[in-house]
Symmetry: C2
Subunit: 608 residues, 2 copies
């Protein structure tokens, strides 16, 4: 039998169901019924339409398959077995300690682009992969298997809007409309028309099919390949648990192994040894890359007044000239974040994502899958909108660079809704993250360049208002470092600051010196990883640390310092934002929040 | 002139523009052009359709007006002036320190229900207010003024889906399609049809109008009032900066005062003194409330094995019987979070929000505006999806109760995408938040009841697996408290834990005792506010603290402890999750993360 034989497709699908049941049975947990509904869809995709070189997962011509309904991992792993890249023994390690076949797929597997399992994320990431394909002038296709339940997520409609508007024809969403969510029926049940109307309204080509009929599936996938100028959504009516009466189309069978796996396997026709030969991509197209040139970073004179957000924009534009693989994305605020400087110079590598922060981050994740170096910016406050996407990017070990502007109360009159006051806490707590908070333009420029080489999720926080340039151009600021700005043998305390509060700390130290109280000042521009050695030395030398940050008291710079010195036990006083700000001028805000120079002076006096 | 005279409506709208220009000029910042585009829309609404008693903002029959495009605050404040509830002097305090007329509206003003300014949030909150109206059997209307830019936010489509599916006919979205976003043109420009198709696909009645024609606006608002069974979206084509040639329909005029305010005021026909008499609601309908009864909380026997998520569900059901004002919402995982127990007993007060966490939280915010006591639950990990909504709830001083289940690596095989590992950091850093993390069923039940009276955003974290009941039924656990579980005069260190790690800490302490090393154990169930007194005493007494938590190292329980004792300087060792977990059994996960009993024993030994 070949893939041209409908019976072959039925046999392959049956084996995928059998293996999904077996894997979940071996694990004692997992989602076999969610796998069974989509088995025919994926069998036809793998046998007839997918172009993927399993021997070379990094072949740039490969299609991309994203399991947006990540809990259907048994199906994915069963497909890998059928494709011959994992054995039956490994399949049965599903969900065991140390196995790379995790409960939800992660890129520990070379054929997995991105971790899924938080619903509504696979399609937005797929949009990013398709955006990269257009930029690279590569003909690969992006196939995203979605569940019907996850279409309730707003992020799906951010993706639908972006893909529809951009006409990303190489993107296909295959929606497994199995009618049943985790707790019970979905909102629209088997009304595939409800979903089709929604996708169509966002500019997609749509097709409604029986998701268990190989010929209908084949027609739909062909149709998707032929459709030009629009992405395609295939709305496939399926039955959850298809093939096993005990669970088929029944409530209460989500996310658990079948009661009698052997019986179910028998009902499915028993184990088989069907192999699927996935066709390799045709030709050897090479992704288009943009020119590179020597780096000419912006340079600012000491004493100049420059906002760090401006330095970010100019440094990114310089980096864009130096590196053709750098791309920039922004959430419709490029004039405020200053991504505009890059957008004007490299319009082809700039992506306006409009006010859709989840898709903003997902697009960055998607593009880094293809080897691009994405920088994505919006207000620091609004990155909270994408928290779950950033969390999952961490789990994917995706290398993305996020820039949050308008940090802290220092923005002034706009008030609390626009103030990034929780961003350091959010970013520090992520797996494998790097958190940077520069205080001047040259430092910002250096760190923006440095971020290109940082793995994982890295974050840089910028300030709206101008601050004086205190470092000469070209000084190095390694990630994980800090800068001792004031130090003397008589120091009675050390002030640890970053960003806008560095300047307040310097002013406070100057004032304290005139009253005979010498204190040190550390610029802790790398909030994670933190320069423990320097902090420990300060803790030992002065024994008194004052941290000051334009951020809430919890989870930010102060906590990073406490954590670094906790086993030593110096006295630490944290100055941070504790109340709810209103509107006021920047300097009034700093004063009202108790993080300006006067507050620092008072805190030092109280401590000593 | 009366509100029946079209000339009156034009005069009122002109005054709103004049006052928006004047307010921004006085402030030196703000968004006059975004106010000017919507002036006709709001003039007609206030003069002819709104039912609102400005003398009694808490009149339960009042309509609700939500400014989803919160940056158009000058328009809102100008409306308040026209309604006679603020004077011209106060209008000109816009954005000044101490003024309640903030850059973006907040409930410091008695006529503002919810803080806006993070786009895409007003409509989802409006959905919650409309849901409450149905529950209360009240005929008030909910009017939400949206910008066109914010329709890119996925949260708007979560709201569209929920409102469309529920047929919330009392909800009207008035969309000010002024074509220009912050940075430049919106995706769809003046294509009101593009938006109408999208809303219609989600089941809304739609109407496209000229947003500067009072009669068309009036017709559309009437149409919205008459439409049954469906919410209405009015897509109004407008010109940003309408009425002043310097800025009208021009790019680059967003978010800044007009260059020559006096000239602009002249062009708009000069200052006026037009008053608007908003009609008060008819009749005196009283909101329907459900019966209340004495509280009969669940009770668990010491030694029983019960998951805290189960105790949450049962306690919430008991609270629902005791308090008719308690409502529950869940993100399509009520069988896992165990909100199911409430849903089965009080189906009318349970709201299935499907997998749309932003709308889940927004609905809770909307319902508390109407005096309901909402509890909203999903996996702790997926609450990150709603971070920005929770942040804004804090700024609104909204009292909502969030429950995050499946906390930590202790969930086991499902892997990192499903593990709440950043939730404590996220919740602690919010303004005015309360963070609770119980370790047994009776403690959970007590705290769930306690939360009903907690103001602001409160959060309780539950565990998937069963844990032994260690407290007898009826013990009190005040917010801000802790429980010393082991203590002796010879203690050489104190272990501070919460939730699942309390049991690991007790086991470790038992093992250490057998080797002659007595240590204390504190159950820090209230992570914020934290029981500083008890922690300080432990710091003074033993001088060695070991914190252990099933959460990332940053921003959680350990940092809360460090913060509480930082000015004293004890030695503190934090045990927390630092690596990326995979799939494994719960006890394997705790061991691999280095937060189980053995890891605690080792940490104590290393420290001493």
């Amino acid at each position: 039998m070949t893939e041209h034989d409908p019976q072959y497709l039925a046999e392959l699908a049956a084996q995928l169901r059998v293996d999904s049941v077996r894997a979940a049975a071996a694990a004692g947990s997992g989602h076999p019924t969610s796998s069974m509904s989509a088995a025919d869809l994926m069998a036809v995709l793998f046998a007839r339409h997918l172009r993927y070189d399993f021997d070379q997962p990094d072949n740039p011509a490969n299609d991309h398959v994203i399991l947006s309904k990540g809990h259907a991992s048994p199906l994915l792993y069963s497909l890998y077995k059928a494709a011959g890249v994992i054995g039956d023994d490994e399949l049965l390690t599903f969900r065991r300690r140390g196995s790379r076949l995790e409960g939800h797929p992660t890129p520990r597997l070379p054929w997995v682009d991105v971790a899924t399992g938080s619903l509504g994320q696979g399609l937005p990431v797929g949009v990013g992969v398709a955006m990269a394909g257009r930029l690279e002038r590569m003909p690969y296709r992006v196939w995203v298997l979605c569940g019907d339940s996850e279409l309730a997520e707003g992020s799906i409609w951010e993706a639908a809007e972006h893909a529809g508007d951009e006409g990303l024809a190489d993107l296909t969403a295959i929606v497994d409309v199995n009618r049943l969510g985790q707790r019970g029926p979905t909102r629209h049940g088997w009304d595939t028309g409800a979903y089709a109307r929604r996708f169509a309204a966002f500019g997609w080509h749509t097709i409604e099919i029986d998701g268990h009929d190989p010929e209908e599936i084949d027609y739909a996938l062909q149709d998707a390949c032929k459709t030009r100028g629009r992405p395609t959504a295939i709305l496939a009516k399926t039955r959850k648990g298809e093939g096993v009466l005990e669970v088929e189309n029944r409530e209460g069978a989500h996310g658990k192994p079948l009661k009698d796996a052997d019986k179910a396997v028998g009902e499915l026709g028993g184990p088989r040894d069907v192999r699927v030969t996935v066709r390799k991509p045709d030709g050897a197209a090479e992704p288009y890359r943009f020119d590179s040139a020597p780096l000419e970073p912006p340079a600012y004179e000491v004493g100049e007044q420059v906002a760090t957000r401006t330095a970010y924009g100019e440094a990114l534009a310089a980096l864009g000239a130096a590196r053709g693989d750098v791309v920039a994305l922004d959430g419709e605020v490029a004039d405020s974040t200053k991504t505009e400087a890059f957008a004007q110079r490299f319009p082809e590598r700039f992506f306006e994502m409009y006010i859709a922060e989840q898709q903003l981050v997902a697009a960055a994740v998607g593009m880094q899958i293809r080897g691009w170096i994405p920088y994505a910016a919006t207000f620091a406050a609004f990155l909270t909108r994408a928290h779950d996407f950033i969390r999952m990017a961490g789990i994917s070990r995706a290398s993305i660079r996020l820039i949050g502007s308008h940090a802290g109360v220092a923005i002034g009159e706009d008030g609390p809704s626009q103030m990034g006051l929780e961003d350091l806490a959010m970013m520090r707590a992520l797996y494998g993250s790097t958190v940077l908070y520069p205080c001047d333009a040259n430092q910002t420029a250096w760190l923006i360049t440095e971020m290109a080489g940082v793995e994982g999720v890295s974050y840089l926080r910028t300030t709206r208002g101008s601050t004086p340039v205190i470092y000469p151009p070209g000084e190095r600021f390694p990630v994980g470092g800090s800068r001792v700005l004031r130090q003397s043998s008589g120091d009675r305390a050390t002030i640890v600051a970053a960003g806008v509060t560095v300047h307040e700390a310097l002013a406070a130290a100057g004032e304290l010196e005139t009253t005979g109280v010498p204190v040190g000042v550390i610029d802790l521009y790398s909030v994670k990883p933190v320069d423990s050695a320097v902090l420990v030395e300060a803790a030992i030398t002065t024994g008194n640390l004052i941290t000051v940050e334009d951020h809430r008291l919890e989870g930010g710079l102060g906590d990073a310092v406490l954590d670094a010195v906790s086993e030593l036990g110096p006295r630490v006083v944290k100055l941070a934002v504790t109340e709810l700000p209103g509107s006021a001028k920047p300097e009034e805000q700093l004063a009202d929040a108790g993080i300006d120079r006067h507050a620092i002076v008072e805190a030092v006096k109280r401590l000593l």
